[in-house]
Symmetry: D2
Subunit: 354 residues, 4 copies
């Protein structure tokens, strides 16, 4: 099948449509406005609905409603807008509803700027909203992967009845790459016997709810959620390994940042250094399994992030003190430069202090 | 000085007033409504302002404004309301403004219920909003400590120009205990030469801002913030140790949960078991120092939380794989029962599987 | 063509759809909720959009937007909700956009009740919003007339680029009557070369606007509007005359109230009294022409309203002091009883004091 | 007592404060922003509260609340903002609560412009909100009269438990004139035994309400309101007569417009024409009594307004067809020029067609 050239932001939209998404609610914010712009045109073409809500808070609650009615539904925002959705996200997760949320991370905190960043990692994977809940978080690193993961995002959401967050950044959104869209099989959401689609005569009452006023019931609900999260942790960890097998030094990076690190690995290998890369594709569930495996051989880790150090906690939790875990980061919309990362690699490889 | 009998919720309000807080903005939500109710009456008595905002989102932004004008200002909410404040909190932290936010945690996620919980731990200490920022988080365990920490909360906020969150729960809010209020010295906020109080003729322009449109500037700002957070980590870790010195098993718990664990420690000691308790008073900065110290002697840790396991990550990060870290938790508004915790302690102490 | 039995509220919806209306924005309020309920189902069947807005204020502004893009669009509300739309209505009228607004009048003022009333007459015909503007106001008195006037409403709106209000009440909304729907010719809105539908390459810029910052320009705009309103006054007055020709006493009533008065006229005629009825179908433009004509012969007028006396001003303005104009009204959701009105008629007819 | 030079906008604020107003809620809009700006500073000086609400809709509802608690409370806005308050105003009137609303009329409809106008006359006196209610409407024509009428406004509001609207325009707001403030007697609102100030032990329940779900009750309430409005019509009509006694031609104008007409009267008198002016001070209740009186002698009327012709309806209703009523108006923020009005006067005086 022929490849087409596509921008990341369009791929997010087209990927969603091909994954059967038919509802989009959102409020414009840079640097993701091209995605809603694309869907404003595209949704009507496939009989879907695009609606610009009055705020991000409203968008999250519209997603709540559409998801509760069984629709494949998506919203998208960046930094401040995603923060405004935290109440809604907690409700959606608490009510166990499937949906997809794109966070095109920008420089923060506060108003920050519109340059690419990864500083919403903690918010995404530890839970920005209240209560014990988890989002499945996917972190694509290419336009093709956006297309592929968007389908997975909707499928995972439905499979586990859980919101899925897709973490991207402005670089990925603006990047043009050739992609294979695959056959235009408009995916169908599976049967959703729990969806509140209007009670049929004699049919059972269906209730979408996150209220459990009796603590015993609420605890039971939390245990059920925790078991679901454990199942997801066991079954859905995804990552890419790059020249890891004989590596004594492992870089860990996701998204745009991992693309830079791949080049660094090649440079290091060219100079004879046994360096590899682990790129988490799911940042929740975190791919702890591969870290646990490689920590036996690898002598040290270097976590590279476009923030002040967030994912490093998850790497440390997996390494459990067995090996040193170093950090290299840029923040506020700045991106690591391959040469600088390579410099850091060389220093550490040769036993220099990190 | 004579002691007075006081409810936790009143103590939160009276403590704030005595700490010089003169502005309160908030929106009612159970189980913290008695606090705004108290301040609605109390604020006018001291020339302060109480304002019920149209939403929690608005409350956070009103706090932003008052803090930027140099006032000692507080808001309070629970679960869903705190989630609605996440955008505002990120802005306040990004603009480096001092304020105090009370989260009277209730059962979650979503609507959940109004029973006491600790399931917003991650949101509080990892950052529920977007971007690299940190809240100083204080976790009192008695009505007296509420009074004392409220003064500290405002002082720390001003000292570091950083929002401070006070984590409590409904048990603490409803509990009546005798407290010593101390002399009624209405604390005065320090001089705030940065506050935007109206430009004086010929005076310099003061700008409260979290926008750094140029990435280089934004990174510089993030590095400045990170250095501040490091200073706080070095200087402000607080905890209580209880029968820790010779303990081979260390319980770790905060807030209401720690009160239960203290009783468990006594029971264990009565039966000759060398059990101690570490109670973090600051949950951010996390009291890593004491964990690092005791992990040399202690053979195992048991983290007890009123959630599905959140603080345990910070304990594990401090223990660094040197000792097993076990978990016992109740959730959804349920509280651990001393007897059950003691049962867990005995099982682990005797080498039982956790 | 066969007649079908239809409820007034459904007829409002079906009439709109048959008139080519494809967009409905509104917020639920009794006693008109059956109308949006009907359209929520019906709109998707004809490829139209039904959207429940977050408030009536928002609904009015969504109507503004859709009308500006050239769509046939409607909203509907009652009393308090219509008041919330006044800003939007003034903007729509100021920008000369066509749309239809249904006011299912309920008892007022304030919260009032949900019973039928006509007490929003002044608001509708004198202008509830700010500035010199006028709504074309239609007042149907039967289910068949609802169907017919709905088509006219959209046509008049487009013809004059002016909002049209349809005044109804709960009695009319609940009433079931046989109606002839006519052929299902889905009416098409006329070409709207002014509509802001996205600038075409090389095409002219189209601007929907009510801002005229220069007073001279704003006055010119107001004069243009006034001329349009004069044209409408000359050409669009509509009314029904019932046994008027030889009447010495003329009842004047609109909507539901006129149905009662028609029965009163018959009763009076049965007793040999020369009584007739004028039923304004347009309450703006007010059918002054017919009043001016009949005031020559008729010796007195009796205005009957479901309010405390509002339309009577327009009758007096037309009668110009040449004949006495009496009033009989019920209010707060109470309806005139035929016997009582007839009693009033007899008293006045026989020279009794009004 | 010495006079001070004062701007109209400041006089509105200072007059309110001296009339005992201690609460102001509002949202900024040109051309009245200097009034809230003044009160933001002034209110705290007298122990009052100034609060900028999140919208005009909110401001009206805050006024509703404060009025219900017995406070002397005011809001202020212009055109679009006043339209947004219509629901709240109907509720306040329906609940019979005293308050003062300033409308600094600007050019309309829609966004219009910020120049002075009188085009919200209908909205003010016929009822922009829903239901049968009336506002007492005062129209000052000088800075001194602003001071004086502001006291009357609050007194009338309390006397009749009815909202009072003060109609002004940007010219009056910007005009500086010497005023006598009188002794600083901070007026006290009268006892308000109906105010909902918190139920006292054993005391009666006080309810502020506009809901009358039973139509019979709602009608009773409307009749009570109508009787109150009749009392006001009988007792509170206010106007200024200027050289009216022997006039054969009467100008009618209010506010800023009347100042211009006064000069025109003088010009006409200088040329020997018997021209006079009636300046309504209350535009509701309309000073019908004086029109009824002068229509005996006067041969014709000329209504001059800064709109397309609104008050002329009230003049015609009072003249009852006995004399010709002419109109001269400017709109969209344009003001009549004395010379032009005089030209119109001369033409009509000499029998020219209007």
């Amino acid at each position: 099948m022929a490849k087409v050239l596509m921008k990341g932001n369009e791929a997010l939209g087209e990927g969603a449509v091909r994954a059967g998404c038919r509802y989009f609610f959102g409020y414009p914010i840079t640097p993701q406005s091209e995605l809603p712009h694309y869907l404003a045109k595209r949704m009507p073409e496939v009989g879907g609905l695009y609606l610009q809500s009055e705020s991000e808070t409203a968008a999250a609650n519209m997603v709540f409603g559409a998801a509760g009615a069984g629709a494949r539904v998506m919203t998208s925002s960046s930094g401040p807008g995603i923060s405004l959705m935290q109440e809604g996200i907690s409700y959606i997760a608490g009510a166990e509803l499937p949906c997809v949320i794109v966070n095109m991370i920008r420089g923060g905190p506060g108003l920050g700027n519109i340059a690419p960043a990864q500083s919403d990692y903690f918010q995404a994977v530890k839970g920005g909203g209240h209560g014990d809940y988890r989002l499945i978080c996917l972190a694509p690193a290419s336009v093709q992967e956006i297309i592929d993961l968007m389908q997975d995002a909707f499928d995972l959401a439905d499979k586990y009845r859980n919101p899925v967050m897709l973490l991207a950044d402005g670089v990925l959104g603006q990047m043009m790459e050739p992609v294979e869209l695959g056959e235009e099989k408009i995916a169908e959401a599976p049967e959703k016997p729990w969806a509140a689609t209007g009670r049929k005569k004699g049919g059972p009452k269906r209730l979408i709810n996150s209220l459990y006023i009796v603590p015993e019931e609420c605890e039971k609900h939390n245990i059920k959620l925790a078991q679901k999260y454990d199942t997801i942790r066991r079954n859905e960890q995804r990552w890419e390994e790059y020249r890891v097998d004989d590596a004594t030094m492992i870089l860990v990076a996701f998204g745009t940042c991992a693309r830079i690190c791949k080049a660094v690995v090649d440079s290091a290998r060219n100079e004879g250094m046994a360096v590899g890369l682990i790129r988490p594709i799911t940042v929740w569930p975190y791919p702890t399994d591969v870290i646990t495996r490689v920590r036996e051989k690898a002598e040290q880790f270097l976590v590279v992030e476009m923030n002040m150090g967030q994912m490093i906690e998850d790497v440390k939790l997996a390494v459990e003190g067995m090996r040193p875990v170093h950090f290299y980061g840029r923040s506020g919309g700045m991106m690591p430069v391959a040469r600088d990362v390579f410099g850091e690699v060389k220093k550490l490889y040769n036993g220099g202090a990190a």
